[in-house]
Symmetry: C2
Subunit: 198 residues, 2 copies
């Protein structure tokens, strides 16, 4: 048996997930074949199955990777001294993702698939729990350090944030009259009034 | 040829759309057969095709009916004297719809289907335009009557409203830790600060 180099394995796995994300966003999960994913990743079908046993396994890995990336990023930001600035940065990063059509398409595909697939729904729900936990950590940390007012309940601050981000996501997806640049000031104003300095 | 009674025809059509909405929300569009819709509506398959030529035609009619209902409701509310109260009522009605799991499921099904079906996407986009137009009419009317402050751009007030409603929709659908009752006060507070009295 050939010995696997763990770094090479991880890199190849990442390439497959990127290629699959691109394919799914363009054509939808059900209209994408594993042969198309292999072509996009530049590998043979036989080789793909060393990494993922099925298309469903690739979809699930995309969600798990996103959950892990969010958890890592919020943990990193939570170690900063100025947590109010860290919150701002996390917000800017979230808005930048929403402004990316590829990200919007893959997110919509995942939601659409999750409503009909209980196993994927559980992973998406965990992903949402990871999102909540990341924001909660920054908001509670900022309150503990006295960098934002301690009055508001952290859970409610997280609600307000996620409602705004999900709302912007839907508008960008469905509403040709929505303009994120027009809305951005108002969004920041609404959130700043919640995270106001202590 | 049998003569159709237009009232009876409209009533039967409405029954079919209600039955289909229920079926689609429970099982998804693709997993629902026209036979199941007929059974739920208590009619024979041959009879169904006097009303709708295909399952796609039923889906499209559901979106068109919703667009028409929204336009009618906002036109009705726009005729009231107190448009600030009318805005409140329209918001309460929108939140009541979001609190209904059947409404959430059918909305998700429509979005999921629309991202892969250009014809349905166009109807969903028109539905969104009708939603925007309804809110815009009430907000502009209230500004014109001096019932809310005239400072803010109506288009931006509509953005803020639809972002909140769509965000609440996503949270209720995906986030087991979101509680609409907990969030409601904050939502009203944020919107009231935009619609503040003139």
């Amino acid at each position: 048996m050939r010995k696997l180099d763990p770094d090479k394995h991880a890199a190849r796995r990442g390439q497959i997930l990127n290629a699959a994300t691109q394919c799914f966003a363009e054509r939808g999960f059900h209209q994408t074949s594993t042969a198309q994913i292999c072509a996009a990743a530049g590998m043979s079908p036989g080789n793909l199955f060393h990494y993922f046993p099925s298309k469903d396994a690739i979809i699930e890995a995309i969600v798990l990777e996103d959950s892990a990336a969010m958890a890592a990023r919020s943990a990193e930001l939570a170690r900063e001294d100025d947590l109010r600035a860290a919150l701002r940065r996390m917000l800017d990063e979230a808005l930048a993702s929403l402004a990316d059509p590829l990200y919007r398409r893959i997110s919509m595909e995942l939601m659409a698939e999750a409503v009909r697939n209980a196993r994927l729904f559980a992973l998406v729900a965990e992903n949402e729990a990871a999102r909540r936990a990341g924001w909660r950590r920054l908001l509670q940390g900022a309150q503990a350090k006295g960098q934002i007012a301690a009055g508001a309940e952290p859970e409610l601050l997280v609600d307000a944030l996620l409602v705004q981000l999900d709302g912007v996501f839907s508008r960008l997806l469905l509403d040709g009259d929505f303009d994120l640049d027009r809305y951005r000031d108002l969004l920041e104003q609404q959130l700043n009034s919640l995270w106001r300095a202590a």
